[in-house]
Amino acid sequence: MSEVQSPTPGRAPGFSDWVGPAAERRRAVTDAFVDTFTAWGYAYLATPLVEPLTTVAAGVAGGSQTQLFRFMDADGDLLALVGERTVSVARVVATQLQGGPFPLRLCYSGPVLFNRPPLGGRRREAMQAGCELIGHAGLAADAECIAVAAAALERAGMGGVQIDVGHADFIPSLLDQAHLGPEQRAIVAGAVRRRDLVAVEAALEGTEVAEADRALLLAFPTLRGGREILEMAGARLTAVRPRAVIEELARLWDLLDGHGITDRAHLDLGAVRDWDYYTGPTFELFSSDLGFPLGSGGRYDRLLGAFGLEAPATGFVLHVDRCCDALLRGSGDETPRLPLRLGHSVRGAAGAVEIAARLRRAGHPVALDLESTEPPAGDVVGWAHADGPGGLRWRLPGKQGTGVDALLAELDAGRARQ
């Protein structure tokens, strides 16, 4: 018996091809995101897929670097395929755009790669699109980023997302006011970071943390709600720093209200994010159709400093592929818009080119038959013939007509119905 051979040419495990409606959906979602970003005044920026490992390390903690594809170039320098693009944008700002004018509004889209083991169900290549707003320390910048993210998702067909707004300093400030020893603090912080409430409980056991602080820390996954939760938490807090966080979130909420998006926003005091990276308000976007966030963001005032430019910054990333998953689960597989196929007789061929151009100008994709037919083939939507009135005889399912104007009217009506 011969060796079993792979029936098809191989594709690296954990990577996907995008074909047909899935490809079209992915492109449309990416475009909707970037179009929204640019409509809000964010300038598009393209950065490389490869960065020096030292550059990547400025934004990615040591442990997560093992999740990157890393390699050596001919000079022996260590390089990595980017696992996110904020660091690249920060590098560009700190080098080529350090003169401003600030605030800088920048946006990007592109693939990112993860060297995680395949078969885990997680993608190893993902499309991301995001914005960075650099050089403004005020909450107006944070609110704008949240509003842009919400607008982008809405434009891509995801109006019903849930926005969870938190603050990177809330849990650390609680830990600080709890008077834990450095070792205990690290254990509790680690448990919160792992989202392991059982371990938080165990770690607080036997410590001299005040009952009120303990209760707040143990309630971290449930400290969520509307603006009222701030009053509730504020009443239980005495220390200056956590109170400052609460006041900041209250002001941010009012700004979000101004953007008209508090109907889908929640405040989430227990949001667990990378506290070494984020320095202020943070947010995550969820759909009830998906088990992962569709996007996330927040204030990261220290990152630019790692590249020698002290500048406050805030931004967000949207996960295009997860958004496509959520769209697919929410609405089922919508029928993709196929191009019209336009046939023609030998004598109508020249006219057909013109008709196709007119239909395309009107925004309808048209594929022109490469060979003349006689009479029209079954599934041809339009069939141009020089003798026909208006130069076209056309057919839509169950309909027959005669002119380009009538076809255009029919197509526009069909598009309006969608």
């Binding site: 969870d164 989202r195 392991d196 409430l197 371990a199 165990a202 088990g291």
Partner: protein, 226 residues
């Protein structure tokens, strides 16, 4: 609203998990309902029975909103889930055990050590905490056989009663961790279905509350051997 989807671990924890859900008033979970089918829908809950190691996969990927799983499973495959409640059943310990009469069983740690285990991640963390350079051999079952056949000097394995260890002439040298069943929750479900998840966690917490916490959550760190 679609039913809350719960992943239950087949195997040793299964019946206790079903009993807890029923006692807590979460769902009418009759273990025998799963004899022929793998998914049971009871009102606002959809219950699936999967292999214990698959529970965190279902929950992390959002195929289930929440799951019940032993902490020992989470040691080996840490996933991006919330771990909300210690359910206090299915208690077991991860121990280092060696053959009766061996130097290690008498408390003498050899310079180098070969340990057979089904729990390489937890075993690695245990040996690292002791500062012992151990070579781990990952096995998939009948770990107790490894010292008898000379494959390893010792085992790092789960024990509930100690009977299997004793039957294979193994004695416990040190404890590497303690495990009980946990309630884990998908990160998005915690936010998008927070009311249902909160009710579930509260009901389960209340149902298991009377017992003293006999098992600490974090594996205790043992003093390094002299």
């Amino acid at each position: 609203m679609s039913p809350l989807r719960l992943a239950l671990p087949g195997g040793a924890l299964f019946e206790d998990a079903c009993r807890l859900l029923t006692d807590a008033g979460v769902a009418d979970a009759d273990p025998h309902a799963f004899d022929r089918k793998l998914r049971v829908v009871d009102g606002a809950k959809s219950l699936v029975k999967v292999r214990p190691t698959d529970v965190p996969v279902y929950v992390e990927m959002g195929a289930c909103d929440a799951g019940i799983v032993g902490k020992d499973v989470l040691w080996e495959s840490p996933r991006d889930c919330y771990e909300l409640v210690d359910l206090r059943f299915g208690g077991c310990r991860l121990v280092l055990a060696a053959l009766e009469g061996s130097p290690l069983a008498a408390g003498t740690w050899p310079r180098s050590l070969r340990a057979a285990t089904k729990y390489p991640v937890a075993a690695r963390r245990f040996f690292d905490s002791l500062g012992v350079a151990a070579e781990l051999i990952k096995l998939h079952g009948s770990v107790e056989l490894a010292p008898i056949m000379g494959l390893a000097d010792c085992v790092v394995d789960i024990t509930a009663t100690g009977r299997t260890l004793a039957a294979n002439h193994l004695v416990e040298v040190a404890e590497a961790g303690r495990s009980t069943a946990r309630l884990i929750v998908n990160q998005a479900s915690l936010k998008t279905r927070s009311d249902a998840v909160d009710r579930l966690a509260t009901a389960l917490r209340r149902a298991v509350a009377p017992a003293e916490p006999d098992v600490p959550a974090a594996p205790p760190v043992r003093r390094a051997p002299a």
